[in-house]
Amino acid sequence: MSSDNLMTLNLKIWRQQNSKDSGKIQDYVLEGVSPDSSFLEMLDQLNEKLIAEGIDPVSFDHDCREGICGMCSLMINGQAHGPERETTTCQLHMRKFNDGDTVVIEPFRARAFPVLKDLMVDRGAFDEIIAAGGFTNVNTGNAPDANSILIPQSDAELAMDAAACIGCGACVASCKNASAMLFVSAKVSQLALLPQGQVEADQRVQNMVAKMDELGFGNCTNEAECEASCPKGISISNIARMNRDYLSAAVKSKAEPKA
């Protein structure tokens, strides 16, 4: 690869020592960035440079780097996972940027998502919501016969669409109210649409919403910024489904919501 293509970037990165530190934006200049590298590889390159200079490297979340684990995050130039549609940060490539660009990199921000260090964010709140009801009870033992439970194709498709959620938290990060409605509704929908999810359906929606509220996420104002910034394109029709499921559960369910 010829060195002609290499870019120089002006990076503005959020640096924060720990969760108690107030943090600030720090400027860095990074030379020799290949347009073929991914955004995270660019950060790796920066960290190698910082380590060589004896500076504390920038902490950021990442894992599979294949766009499926939901671990990477980052607000890039004010957008969750950067400017590209339905793309996680790890799948965003530097060819989307130009030589000399200024790139602002911040952590996802919400009261329920405390910053641990630099760009690293604790999204354990999502795990708590799942633990509150995002599961089904199944019998252990032999595997059930395939196709013994009939599911309409359209329902299976919708459930799969909802199940595409990787729980990265971009919906919360991009929502002006830091609402977790898209995540919770996807996790409610993927089970509510299937026969296997019916036993706990009423309790599930009530308990997951109660937990979401308790954790301090904001309220949904139906702006659809979540859907627009979701790397998996989860639809806000899931939010409508959760709204009606909650209303129906509130009217007919014997159990009260418990967070």
Partner: protein, 224 residues
């Protein structure tokens, strides 16, 4: 039972559903008020007779109390939700950009258009309901000449301008609110989603233009 109701009323989803129901009821009020307004084009007697029929009926107090309750619920809950939403992100972004595929001007300005409508509502009540009282006779009955109050008020271009601005804000508020109410209540289906958004925008345009026409008509009418 009461505690169960309290638990539900504290849930984010239910608060939004109460906003939705009160919002839709207020849309209904907008329609009925607009139809009443249209009597001004028929003539002063028709307008005054309608106003008299409304205010002389004892049930008006019940209707006004219900309407006030709907308004206060919608406004009070809006304030509560907005405060909660601000608290949900205590540290703001250094840089935040919209995707351009989600939020609209209407959706991102709901609290501001809402506040403007509230200010308008208070001024509106002071100017008309509790405004200058003129009397006239229709078929030998002494009635309030509300028509005169309205027409005289709109002789000032500033009053017309303020009214027009407030009604544009109302149109913007309703254009997001109407669709949003259905989403909050759980109505969403590929069959009618597009239609619902279109109806929401059309409804907003009809409401805004419908209300804007009145002050302009009164201004052009002059003191006649």
């Amino acid at each position: 039972m009461a505690s169960k109701l309290c638990t539900y009323l504290k849930a984010s989803v239910v608060k939004k559903q109460v906003m939705a129901v009160t919002g839709l009821l207020l849309c209904g009020f907008l329609v009925s008020h607009l139809i009443g307004n249209c009597l001004i084009y028929v003539g002063s007697d028709a307008f005054n007779t309608y106003a008299h029929a409304l205010t002389s009926n004892k049930l008006i107090y019940v209707a006004e109390a219900i309407l006030a309750a709907i308004f206060f619920t919608h406004i009070g809950l809006a304030i509560k939700l907005t405060v909660e939403n601000k608290k949900a992100r205590p540290v703001q972004y250094y840089m935040k950009q919209k995707t351009g595929r989600g939020a609209t001007f209407a959706s991102s300005t709901m609290p501001y258009t809402g506040m403007l409508i509230l200010v308008f509502l208070i001024i509106h009540l002071i100017n008309f309901k509790f405004g200058p009282v003129y009397m006239t006779q229709i078929d030998g009955i002494e009635v309030r000449d509300l028509h005169k109050t309205v027409v005289l008020y709109f002789q000032s271009p500033l009053n017309v301008l303020w009214y027009v601005i407030a009604m544009i804000a109302l149109g913007i508020h309703v254009s997001h609110g109407f669709w949003s109410a259905f989403q909050s209540l759980g109505f969403s289906h590929p069959k009618y989603n597009c239609g619902l958004k279109l109806i929401s925008k059309l409804f907003a345009v009809v409401i805004a233009l419908g209300y804007i026409a009145l002050p302009i008509y009164c201004y052009l009418l002059g003191g006649k």
